[in-house]
Protein backbone atom coordinates (compact mmCIF):
# COMPACT_ATOMS: atom_id res chain seq x y z
CA UNK A 1 0.00 0.00 0.00
CA UNK A 2 1.26 3.49 -0.79
CA UNK A 3 2.99 5.56 1.89
CA UNK A 4 0.60 8.55 1.79
CA UNK A 5 -2.36 6.25 2.47
CA UNK A 6 -0.58 4.57 5.37
CA UNK A 7 0.59 7.86 6.81
CA UNK A 8 -2.89 9.41 6.52
CA UNK A 9 -4.43 6.39 8.21
CA UNK A 10 -1.72 6.47 10.85
CA UNK A 11 -2.33 10.15 11.47
CA UNK A 12 -6.07 9.53 11.81
CA UNK A 13 -5.35 6.71 14.21
CA UNK A 14 -3.01 8.90 16.19
CA UNK A 15 -5.69 11.57 16.49
CA UNK A 16 -8.11 8.97 17.79
CA UNK A 17 -5.50 7.76 20.25
CA UNK A 18 -5.47 11.10 21.96
CA UNK A 19 -4.20 14.47 20.88
CA UNK A 20 -2.89 15.14 24.39
CA UNK A 21 -0.07 12.64 24.15
CA UNK A 22 1.06 14.09 20.83
CA UNK A 23 1.05 17.62 22.24
CA UNK A 24 3.16 16.59 25.21
CA UNK A 25 5.63 15.00 22.79
CA UNK A 26 5.67 18.15 20.63
CA UNK A 27 6.49 20.26 23.68
CA UNK A 28 9.42 18.04 24.55
CA UNK A 29 10.68 18.29 20.96
CA UNK A 30 11.60 21.95 21.14
CA UNK A 31 14.69 21.35 23.22
CA UNK A 32 16.15 18.55 21.08
CA UNK A 33 19.10 18.63 18.62
CA UNK A 34 18.29 15.44 16.67
CA UNK A 35 15.10 16.78 15.08
CA UNK A 36 15.71 15.34 11.58
CA UNK A 37 16.17 11.86 12.96
CA UNK A 38 13.08 12.25 15.11
CA UNK A 39 11.04 13.34 12.08
CA UNK A 40 12.14 10.20 10.23
CA UNK A 41 11.18 8.08 13.22
CA UNK A 42 7.86 9.88 13.44
CA UNK A 43 7.13 9.22 9.80
CA UNK A 44 8.00 5.57 10.22
CA UNK A 45 5.79 5.33 13.28
CA UNK A 46 2.86 6.86 11.40
CA UNK A 47 3.40 4.43 8.53
CA UNK A 48 3.32 1.47 10.89
CA UNK A 49 0.31 2.82 12.74
CA UNK A 50 -1.47 3.26 9.39
CA UNK A 51 -0.71 -0.27 8.36
CA UNK A 52 -2.06 -1.62 11.64
CA UNK A 53 -5.16 0.62 11.55
CA UNK A 54 -6.05 -0.48 8.02
CA UNK A 55 -5.55 -4.11 8.94
CA UNK A 56 -7.70 -3.66 12.06
CA UNK A 57 -10.58 -2.23 10.03
CA UNK A 58 -10.25 -4.47 6.97
CA UNK A 59 -13.15 -6.92 6.55
CA UNK A 60 -12.64 -10.62 5.96
CA UNK A 61 -10.57 -11.23 2.87
CA UNK A 62 -13.11 -13.31 0.99
CA UNK A 63 -16.64 -12.15 0.26
CA UNK A 64 -19.45 -14.36 1.50
CA UNK A 65 -20.70 -14.62 -2.09
CA UNK A 66 -17.31 -15.97 -3.12
CA UNK A 67 -17.47 -18.87 -0.67
CA UNK A 68 -21.02 -19.69 -1.81
CA UNK A 69 -20.00 -19.52 -5.49
CA UNK A 70 -17.06 -21.87 -4.90
CA UNK A 71 -19.37 -24.27 -3.15
CA UNK A 72 -21.92 -24.08 -5.98
CA UNK A 73 -19.18 -24.53 -8.59
CA UNK A 74 -17.70 -27.55 -6.87
CA UNK A 75 -21.06 -29.30 -6.54
CA UNK A 76 -22.60 -28.30 -9.86
CA UNK A 77 -25.74 -26.20 -9.93
CA UNK A 78 -29.42 -27.02 -10.07
CA UNK A 79 -32.16 -27.74 -7.56
CA UNK A 80 -31.22 -31.39 -7.27
CA UNK A 81 -27.73 -30.62 -6.09
CA UNK A 82 -28.84 -28.69 -3.02
Amino acid sequence: MSDPVLIAAGAADLVLDGVGTALRRAGALLGRADLAELARDGREELRRRGSLALRRHAPARESHMESLARRAASRGTGPDDG
Partner: protein
Protein backbone atom coordinates in the same frame (compact mmCIF):
# COMPACT_ATOMS: atom_id res chain seq x y z
CA UNK B 1 -39.64 -20.65 9.13
CA UNK B 2 -36.80 -23.16 8.95
CA UNK B 3 -36.30 -24.27 5.34
CA UNK B 4 -34.66 -27.32 3.82
CA UNK B 5 -33.87 -28.05 0.14
CA UNK B 6 -37.06 -30.14 0.08
CA UNK B 7 -39.30 -27.42 1.51
CA UNK B 8 -37.73 -24.94 -0.94
CA UNK B 9 -38.43 -27.25 -3.89
CA UNK B 10 -42.09 -27.31 -2.85
CA UNK B 11 -42.11 -23.50 -3.03
CA UNK B 12 -41.14 -23.65 -6.73
CA UNK B 13 -44.64 -24.82 -7.61
CA UNK B 14 -46.46 -21.95 -5.93
CA UNK B 15 -47.10 -18.49 -7.44
CA UNK B 16 -49.34 -15.78 -6.00
CA UNK B 17 -52.94 -16.91 -6.28
CA UNK B 18 -54.68 -13.61 -5.54
CA UNK B 19 -52.66 -11.56 -8.05
CA UNK B 20 -52.61 -14.38 -10.63
CA UNK B 21 -56.40 -14.74 -10.54
CA UNK B 22 -56.83 -10.97 -10.88
CA UNK B 23 -54.54 -10.77 -13.92
CA UNK B 24 -56.05 -13.86 -15.59
CA UNK B 25 -59.53 -12.43 -15.18
CA UNK B 26 -58.49 -9.07 -16.62
CA UNK B 27 -56.98 -10.79 -19.66
CA UNK B 28 -59.96 -13.15 -20.13
CA UNK B 29 -62.38 -10.23 -20.11
CA UNK B 30 -60.20 -8.04 -22.31
CA UNK B 31 -60.01 -5.39 -19.58
CA UNK B 32 -56.22 -5.00 -19.37
CA UNK B 33 -55.99 -1.87 -21.52
CA UNK B 34 -58.69 -0.06 -19.57
CA UNK B 35 -57.16 -1.19 -16.28
CA UNK B 36 -53.68 0.10 -17.22
CA UNK B 37 -54.99 3.45 -18.38
CA UNK B 38 -57.05 3.97 -15.24
CA UNK B 39 -54.25 2.82 -12.92
CA UNK B 40 -52.04 5.65 -14.15
CA UNK B 41 -54.37 7.86 -12.15
CA UNK B 42 -54.13 5.75 -9.01
CA UNK B 43 -50.88 6.44 -7.20
CA UNK B 44 -51.64 7.27 -3.57
CA UNK B 45 -53.16 5.18 -0.78
CA UNK B 46 -56.64 6.21 0.33
CA UNK B 47 -57.31 7.88 -2.99
CA UNK B 48 -60.71 7.12 -4.48
CA UNK B 49 -60.42 4.41 -7.13
CA UNK B 50 -60.87 5.67 -10.70
CA UNK B 51 -64.37 5.34 -12.09
CA UNK B 52 -64.83 2.45 -14.50
CA UNK B 53 -62.14 0.25 -12.94
CA UNK B 54 -62.98 -3.45 -13.54
CA UNK B 55 -64.66 -5.12 -10.55
CA UNK B 56 -61.93 -7.75 -10.16
CA UNK B 57 -59.34 -4.96 -9.89
CA UNK B 58 -61.48 -3.24 -7.25
CA UNK B 59 -61.51 -6.44 -5.20
CA UNK B 60 -57.76 -6.90 -5.55
CA UNK B 61 -56.98 -3.32 -4.54
CA UNK B 62 -59.29 -3.57 -1.52
CA UNK B 63 -57.80 -6.90 -0.39
CA UNK B 64 -54.20 -5.65 -0.63
CA UNK B 65 -54.61 -2.11 0.70
CA UNK B 66 -53.36 -2.79 4.23
CA UNK B 67 -49.98 -3.99 5.50
CA UNK B 68 -49.93 -7.30 7.45
CA UNK B 69 -51.66 -7.14 10.85
CA UNK B 70 -48.48 -8.32 12.62
CA UNK B 71 -46.41 -5.23 11.73
CA UNK B 72 -44.53 -3.71 14.68
CA UNK B 73 -44.52 0.02 13.90
CA UNK B 74 -41.71 0.80 16.35
CA UNK B 75 -39.50 -1.62 14.42
CA UNK B 76 -40.47 0.10 11.17
CA UNK B 77 -39.37 3.42 12.68
CA UNK B 78 -36.01 1.88 13.54
CA UNK B 79 -35.73 0.65 9.94
CA UNK B 80 -36.30 4.18 8.63
CA UNK B 81 -33.63 5.56 10.95
CA UNK B 82 -31.24 2.85 9.77
CA UNK B 83 -31.96 3.82 6.19
CA UNK B 84 -31.32 7.50 6.89
CA UNK B 85 -28.04 6.73 8.68
CA UNK B 86 -26.81 4.50 5.88
CA UNK B 87 -28.49 5.82 2.75
CA UNK B 88 -25.34 6.20 0.66
CA UNK B 89 -24.01 2.79 1.64
CA UNK B 90 -27.37 1.08 1.00
CA UNK B 91 -27.58 2.64 -2.49
CA UNK B 92 -24.06 1.44 -3.22
CA UNK B 93 -24.85 -2.09 -1.99
CA UNK B 94 -28.08 -2.24 -4.01
CA UNK B 95 -26.36 -1.02 -7.16
CA UNK B 96 -23.08 -2.92 -7.05
CA UNK B 97 -24.02 -6.07 -5.17
CA UNK B 98 -27.79 -6.79 -5.19
CA UNK B 99 -28.28 -6.20 -8.93
CA UNK B 100 -25.37 -8.49 -9.97
CA UNK B 101 -26.56 -11.06 -7.40
CA UNK B 102 -29.86 -11.32 -9.33
CA UNK B 103 -27.92 -11.90 -12.55
CA UNK B 104 -25.87 -14.73 -11.08
CA UNK B 105 -29.03 -16.85 -10.81
CA UNK B 106 -29.34 -18.06 -14.44
CA UNK B 107 -33.11 -18.58 -14.50
CA UNK B 108 -33.69 -15.14 -12.94
CA UNK B 109 -31.33 -13.56 -15.51
CA UNK B 110 -33.24 -15.34 -18.28
CA UNK B 111 -36.55 -14.07 -16.94
CA UNK B 112 -35.26 -10.51 -16.65
CA UNK B 113 -33.90 -10.70 -20.20
CA UNK B 114 -37.15 -12.09 -21.56
CA UNK B 115 -39.37 -9.41 -20.05
CA UNK B 116 -38.98 -6.42 -22.27
CA UNK B 117 -39.66 -3.72 -19.72
CA UNK B 118 -36.95 -4.95 -17.39
CA UNK B 119 -34.29 -5.31 -20.07
CA UNK B 120 -32.66 -2.02 -19.18
CA UNK B 121 -31.02 -2.07 -15.77
CA UNK B 122 -31.41 1.71 -15.47
CA UNK B 123 -35.15 1.31 -15.38
CA UNK B 124 -35.09 -1.52 -12.88
CA UNK B 125 -32.55 0.29 -10.74
CA UNK B 126 -34.63 3.46 -10.79
CA UNK B 127 -37.74 1.44 -9.94
CA UNK B 128 -36.00 -0.32 -7.07
CA UNK B 129 -34.60 2.98 -5.80
CA UNK B 130 -37.98 4.66 -6.05
CA UNK B 131 -39.60 1.72 -4.29
CA UNK B 132 -37.12 1.91 -1.40
CA UNK B 133 -37.55 5.67 -1.06
CA UNK B 134 -41.35 5.33 -0.97
CA UNK B 135 -40.97 2.60 1.66
CA UNK B 136 -38.83 4.78 3.91
CA UNK B 137 -41.12 7.81 3.90
CA UNK B 138 -42.63 8.64 7.29
CA UNK B 139 -46.13 8.18 5.86
CA UNK B 140 -45.37 5.00 3.88
CA UNK B 141 -48.38 3.17 5.27
CA UNK B 142 -50.81 6.02 5.68
CA UNK B 143 -53.37 7.71 3.47
CA UNK B 144 -51.57 9.68 0.78
CA UNK B 145 -48.63 7.25 0.66
CA UNK B 146 -47.23 6.29 -2.73
CA UNK B 147 -45.71 3.12 -1.36
CA UNK B 148 -48.80 0.91 -0.99
CA UNK B 149 -50.06 1.52 -4.57
CA UNK B 150 -46.51 0.89 -5.83
CA UNK B 151 -46.50 -2.49 -4.05
CA UNK B 152 -49.96 -3.33 -5.40
CA UNK B 153 -48.80 -2.56 -8.95
CA UNK B 154 -45.50 -4.46 -8.69
CA UNK B 155 -47.38 -7.50 -7.42
CA UNK B 156 -49.68 -7.40 -10.46
CA UNK B 157 -46.65 -6.83 -12.71
CA UNK B 158 -45.14 -10.06 -11.39
CA UNK B 159 -48.45 -11.86 -11.99
CA UNK B 160 -48.62 -10.58 -15.56
CA UNK B 161 -45.04 -11.79 -16.19
CA UNK B 162 -46.09 -15.22 -14.94
CA UNK B 163 -49.09 -15.11 -17.27
CA UNK B 164 -47.07 -14.12 -20.35
CA UNK B 165 -44.12 -16.41 -19.72
CA UNK B 166 -46.48 -19.37 -19.50
CA UNK B 167 -48.66 -18.47 -22.47
CA UNK B 168 -45.77 -17.70 -24.76
CA UNK B 169 -43.84 -20.82 -23.78
CA UNK B 170 -40.86 -18.77 -22.61
CA UNK B 171 -40.47 -20.72 -19.40
CA UNK B 172 -39.53 -24.36 -18.85
CA UNK B 173 -42.16 -25.03 -16.24
CA UNK B 174 -41.27 -28.70 -15.85
CA UNK B 175 -37.65 -27.93 -14.92
CA UNK B 176 -38.12 -24.61 -13.15
CA UNK B 177 -41.62 -24.73 -11.70
CA UNK B 178 -43.73 -21.58 -11.69
CA UNK B 179 -42.20 -18.33 -13.05
CA UNK B 180 -41.49 -15.90 -10.16
CA UNK B 181 -42.40 -18.69 -7.75
CA UNK B 182 -42.44 -18.39 -3.97
CA UNK B 183 -38.85 -19.63 -3.73
CA UNK B 184 -37.63 -16.96 -6.17
CA UNK B 185 -39.65 -14.25 -4.43
CA UNK B 186 -38.13 -15.16 -1.06
CA UNK B 187 -34.72 -15.47 -2.77
CA UNK B 188 -35.17 -11.95 -4.15
CA UNK B 189 -36.13 -10.75 -0.69
CA UNK B 190 -32.87 -12.24 0.65
CA UNK B 191 -30.86 -10.44 -2.06
CA UNK B 192 -32.34 -7.07 -1.10
CA UNK B 193 -32.20 -7.64 2.66
CA UNK B 194 -29.53 -9.87 4.24
CA UNK B 195 -27.26 -9.75 1.18
CA UNK B 196 -27.35 -5.94 1.22
CA UNK B 197 -26.36 -6.13 4.90
CA UNK B 198 -23.54 -8.53 3.91
CA UNK B 199 -22.36 -6.02 1.31
CA UNK B 200 -22.47 -3.18 3.87
CA UNK B 201 -20.38 -5.31 6.19
CA UNK B 202 -17.89 -5.98 3.38
CA UNK B 203 -17.76 -2.26 2.64
CA UNK B 204 -16.67 -1.78 6.25
CA UNK B 205 -19.86 0.02 7.30
CA UNK B 206 -20.50 -0.04 11.05
CA UNK B 207 -24.06 -1.13 11.80
CA UNK B 208 -25.85 -1.72 15.07
CA UNK B 209 -27.43 -5.14 15.56
CA UNK B 210 -30.72 -3.35 16.19
CA UNK B 211 -30.47 -1.38 12.93
CA UNK B 212 -29.59 -4.43 10.84
CA UNK B 213 -32.51 -6.41 12.33
CA UNK B 214 -34.91 -3.52 11.65
CA UNK B 215 -33.76 -3.17 8.02
CA UNK B 216 -34.37 -6.88 7.54
CA UNK B 217 -37.77 -6.60 9.25
CA UNK B 218 -38.93 -3.82 6.91
CA UNK B 219 -38.13 -5.99 3.89
CA UNK B 220 -39.99 -8.92 5.46
CA UNK B 221 -43.10 -6.72 5.69
CA UNK B 222 -42.64 -5.69 2.06
CA UNK B 223 -42.16 -9.33 1.01
CA UNK B 224 -45.52 -10.33 2.44
CA UNK B 225 -47.22 -7.35 0.77
CA UNK B 226 -45.63 -8.42 -2.52
CA UNK B 227 -47.26 -11.82 -2.33
CA UNK B 228 -44.95 -14.06 -0.30
CA UNK B 229 -47.18 -16.55 1.53
CA UNK B 230 -47.49 -15.52 5.22
CA UNK B 231 -45.21 -17.59 7.44
CA UNK B 232 -42.97 -18.77 4.59
CA UNK B 233 -40.27 -16.09 4.63
CA UNK B 234 -37.39 -16.35 7.13
CA UNK B 235 -38.32 -14.45 10.30
CA UNK B 236 -34.83 -13.74 11.70
CA UNK B 237 -31.43 -12.89 10.24
CA UNK B 238 -30.21 -16.36 11.23
CA UNK B 239 -33.05 -18.02 9.29
CA UNK B 240 -32.38 -15.60 6.45
CA UNK B 241 -28.71 -16.66 6.37
CA UNK B 242 -29.76 -20.29 5.97
CA UNK B 243 -32.34 -19.59 3.24
CA UNK B 244 -30.07 -17.18 1.39
CA UNK B 245 -27.09 -19.55 1.42
CA UNK B 246 -29.20 -22.55 0.38
CA UNK B 247 -30.92 -20.57 -2.39
CA UNK B 248 -27.73 -19.12 -3.84
CA UNK B 249 -25.80 -22.41 -3.82
CA UNK B 250 -28.73 -24.25 -5.37
CA UNK B 251 -28.77 -22.05 -8.44
CA UNK B 252 -25.87 -19.63 -8.84
CA UNK B 253 -23.81 -20.01 -11.98
CA UNK B 254 -22.85 -18.46 -15.32
CA UNK B 255 -25.31 -17.59 -18.07
CA UNK B 256 -25.22 -15.58 -21.29
CA UNK B 257 -28.10 -13.46 -20.10
CA UNK B 258 -26.41 -12.79 -16.75
CA UNK B 259 -23.23 -11.59 -18.49
CA UNK B 260 -25.23 -9.40 -20.90
CA UNK B 261 -27.28 -7.77 -18.14
CA UNK B 262 -24.09 -7.17 -16.15
CA UNK B 263 -22.45 -5.51 -19.17
CA UNK B 264 -25.47 -3.20 -19.51
CA UNK B 265 -25.35 -2.44 -15.81
CA UNK B 266 -21.63 -1.56 -15.90
CA UNK B 267 -22.15 0.64 -18.99
CA UNK B 268 -24.93 2.42 -17.19
CA UNK B 269 -22.86 3.12 -14.08
CA UNK B 270 -19.88 4.19 -16.17
CA UNK B 271 -22.13 6.78 -17.78
CA UNK B 272 -22.94 8.04 -14.30
CA UNK B 273 -19.29 8.31 -13.18
CA UNK B 274 -17.93 11.64 -14.50
CA UNK B 275 -15.14 11.28 -17.08
CA UNK B 276 -13.60 7.99 -18.14
CA UNK B 277 -10.59 7.74 -15.83
CA UNK B 278 -12.59 6.20 -12.99
CA UNK B 279 -14.77 3.96 -15.19
CA UNK B 280 -12.91 0.75 -14.25
CA UNK B 281 -13.72 1.45 -10.58
CA UNK B 282 -17.31 0.38 -11.27
CA UNK B 283 -16.28 -3.10 -12.41
CA UNK B 284 -13.70 -3.31 -9.62
CA UNK B 285 -16.30 -2.53 -6.95
CA UNK B 286 -18.70 -5.15 -8.31
CA UNK B 287 -15.86 -7.68 -8.38
CA UNK B 288 -14.88 -6.79 -4.83
CA UNK B 289 -18.44 -7.21 -3.52
CA UNK B 290 -19.54 -10.37 -5.34
CA UNK B 291 -16.14 -12.10 -5.38
CA UNK B 292 -14.01 -13.38 -8.25
CA UNK B 293 -16.00 -16.50 -9.10
CA UNK B 294 -19.31 -14.66 -9.58
CA UNK B 295 -17.55 -11.78 -11.31
CA UNK B 296 -15.94 -14.20 -13.78
CA UNK B 297 -19.33 -15.87 -14.41
CA UNK B 298 -20.78 -12.44 -15.12
CA UNK B 299 -17.71 -11.52 -17.23
CA UNK B 300 -16.93 -8.45 -15.14
CA UNK B 301 -13.71 -7.04 -16.67
CA UNK B 302 -10.53 -7.07 -14.56
CA UNK B 303 -8.32 -4.02 -14.11
CA UNK B 304 -5.56 -2.60 -11.92
CA UNK B 305 -8.32 -0.97 -9.88
CA UNK B 306 -9.27 -4.37 -8.47
CA UNK B 307 -6.44 -4.04 -5.94
CA UNK B 308 -7.06 -0.37 -5.18
CA UNK B 309 -10.74 -0.91 -4.43
CA UNK B 310 -9.83 -3.43 -1.73
CA UNK B 311 -8.35 -0.56 0.27
CA UNK B 312 -11.55 1.46 0.31
CA UNK B 313 -13.40 -0.54 2.98
CA UNK B 314 -10.38 -0.28 5.25
CA UNK B 315 -10.26 3.48 4.72
CA UNK B 316 -14.00 3.65 5.27
CA UNK B 317 -13.43 1.67 8.45
CA UNK B 318 -10.95 4.30 9.66
CA UNK B 319 -13.37 7.08 8.73
CA UNK B 320 -16.20 5.37 10.55
CA UNK B 321 -13.90 5.01 13.52
CA UNK B 322 -13.75 8.79 13.57
CA UNK B 323 -17.54 8.96 13.16
CA UNK B 324 -18.04 6.60 16.10
CA UNK B 325 -15.91 8.71 18.41
CA UNK B 326 -16.43 12.29 17.37
CA UNK B 327 -19.77 14.11 16.97
CA UNK B 328 -18.15 16.66 14.66
CA UNK B 329 -16.68 13.92 12.46
CA UNK B 330 -20.06 12.19 12.44
CA UNK B 331 -21.72 15.38 11.25
CA UNK B 332 -19.13 15.97 8.50
CA UNK B 333 -19.36 12.39 7.22
CA UNK B 334 -23.14 12.52 7.35
CA UNK B 335 -23.16 15.61 5.11
CA UNK B 336 -20.69 13.95 2.77
CA UNK B 337 -22.90 10.85 2.63
CA UNK B 338 -25.94 12.97 1.89
CA UNK B 339 -24.19 14.77 -0.97
CA UNK B 340 -22.87 11.54 -2.44
CA UNK B 341 -26.28 9.86 -2.33
CA UNK B 342 -27.90 12.85 -3.90
CA UNK B 343 -25.38 12.89 -6.75
CA UNK B 344 -25.38 9.14 -7.21
CA UNK B 345 -29.14 8.73 -7.42
CA UNK B 346 -30.01 11.86 -9.30
CA UNK B 347 -27.45 10.95 -11.98
CA UNK B 348 -28.69 7.41 -12.14
CA UNK B 349 -32.33 8.33 -12.55
CA UNK B 350 -31.50 11.43 -14.63
CA UNK B 351 -33.99 13.39 -12.59
CA UNK B 352 -36.89 11.31 -13.84
CA UNK B 353 -37.77 9.51 -10.68
CA UNK B 354 -37.21 11.22 -7.38
CA UNK B 355 -35.02 13.37 -5.21
CA UNK B 356 -33.56 11.88 -2.12
CA UNK B 357 -34.98 14.62 0.06
CA UNK B 358 -37.61 12.58 1.82
CA UNK B 359 -35.58 10.96 4.58
CA UNK B 360 -34.36 14.42 5.51
CA UNK B 361 -37.93 15.30 6.32
CA UNK B 362 -38.07 12.52 8.84
CA UNK B 363 -34.94 13.70 10.58
CA UNK B 364 -35.46 17.47 10.48
CA UNK B 365 -39.21 17.92 10.68
CA UNK B 366 -39.92 15.08 13.04
CA UNK B 367 -36.85 15.74 15.15
CA UNK B 368 -35.82 12.09 15.14
CA UNK B 369 -32.27 10.93 15.61
CA UNK B 370 -30.79 7.49 15.92
CA UNK B 371 -30.35 6.41 19.50
CA UNK B 372 -28.84 2.98 18.88
CA UNK B 373 -25.48 2.47 20.50
CA UNK B 374 -22.73 2.53 17.93
CA UNK B 375 -20.70 0.17 20.06
CA UNK B 376 -23.21 -2.61 19.42
CA UNK B 377 -21.76 -3.58 16.03
CA UNK B 378 -23.60 -5.97 13.75
CA UNK B 379 -21.73 -8.75 12.00
CA UNK B 380 -23.44 -11.16 9.58
CA UNK B 381 -24.56 -14.52 10.99
CA UNK B 382 -22.02 -17.28 10.30
CA UNK B 383 -22.27 -19.04 6.93
CA UNK B 384 -24.82 -21.84 6.73
CA UNK B 385 -22.09 -24.04 5.29
CA UNK B 386 -18.87 -23.81 7.30
CA UNK B 387 -15.86 -23.62 4.95
Amino acid sequence: MHHTPESMSALRLVGDELADTTVETLFERGEVGRFNTLMRFFSTAGQELPEGLPEVAHEYLRATAAPPAWVDWDEMERARLFFIDNNVHISTALAFSAMPACYVIPHVARLLSATHGLEYPSRRMAETGQFTVYLMRPDAFEAGSRFVPAVQKVRLLHASIRYHMRREGLWDEEALGTPICQEDMIGGLMIFSIQVLDALHRLGVHMSAEGAAAYFYAWRVVGEMLGITPGQAPATLEEARLFSDLYMTRYMGPSEEGARLTRQLIDLYEDVVPGTLLDPVVAALIRYLVGDTCADWLQVPRSVWDTAVRTSPALLGVLEGIEDRSPLGAWALDRLGHLTTHLELSSLTRGRVMHYAVPERLREEYGLTSTASRADRWVPPPPAFPC
